[in-house]
């Protein structure tokens, strides 16, 4: 996978202490691992070296963003920024209704 976009660094005194589990993915004996944020829900997904994108979720052919396996299974495209705009619109609407009483 190219250009995951984020990364995690792990500092520990020994190999045993270095093991982490990031959102269900075991990272063993790595000091640094790439991550990406799901383009639909923003879950941080760990990317193992030389990994096929299909193993981590997939590529949304609609928004061309990397997505997690859960969003891949949903099968529809709702980018996170669209969800955020919908939430803000809802919040503005509720506020205006409260002002009207």
């Amino acid at each position: 996978m190219r250009n995951p976009g984020g990364y995690v660094t792990i500092d520990a005194p020994d190999k045993q202490s270095q093991r982490i589990v990031l959102n269900g993915t075991v990272i063993d004996s790595e000091k640094e691992v790439d991550t990406f944020s799901c383009a639909h829900c923003q879950l941080v997904v760990a990317v193992k070296p030389m990994c096929d994108p299909a193993d981590m979720g997939g590529l949304c052919k609609s928004c061309m963003g990397l997505i997690c396996s859960h969003c891949y299974d949903i099968g529809t495209c709702t980018p996170i920024m669209k969800k955020i705009e919908q939430d803000e619109d809802r919040s503005r609407f509720l506020r205006s209704m409260q002002e009207w009483g």
Binding site: Y7, L22, A39
Partner: protein
């Protein structure tokens, strides 16, 4: 776009989640979107003699309740920038948030001796929050055996 950091911590970890830091949109405006780009997590006390682990979770919150925490003025990374509109609280002793169910964005199980840093190197990878009042992120931790303190810094842009 100004950058800020919030050095959260949990004084005494327990077997249930205890919040280290929250960054939320203010209840009364003006509100801005908060974009988290970095988290640094690690134990801040001497490790237990028996090896143990702790679990850290970053989730979304919809409203800040009336819990007990220390209000923190977000540290401005560039002194030329103005203060953040996002409200930050650290070191909760009573959990106040309305955590959105199944909204975990970053959950990590780690050793007590490790320090873990996540950073989004591209803006497309930032964890974005809505500007709706009271909504935001909570960084919280629990441990079955590590009962001392941990630090969890959140860095964000708005």
């Amino acid at each position: 776009m100004p950058y800020y950091s919030v050095p959260g911590y949990v004084n005494t970890m327990t077997t249930t989640y205890r919040s280290a830091a929250t960054v939320t949109a203010p209840v009364t405006g003006p509100n801005k979107r908060c974009k988290v780009f970095e988290m640094i997590i690690g134990g801040t006390a001497s490790p237990n003699s028996t090896d143990c682990a702790f679990e850290v979770d970053l989730s979304r919150v919809t409203a800040t309740g009336t819990g007990a925490a220390t209000l923190w003025t977000s540290t401005v990374m560039d002194p030329a920038d103005s203060a953040a509109t996002t409200v930050a609280n650290i070191a909760f002793t009573t959990e106040p948030q309305t955590v959105v169910a199944n909204s975990t964005l970053y959950k990590i199980g780690m050793n007590q001796r490790a320090t873990v840093r996540w950073i989004a190197a591209q803006e497309s990878q930032y964890l974005v929050n809505t500007s709706s009042s009271g909504s935001g992120f909570v960084l919280r931790a629990l441990s079955a055996a590590f009962a001392t303190s941990m630090g969890g810094q959140i860095s964000f842009m708005e």
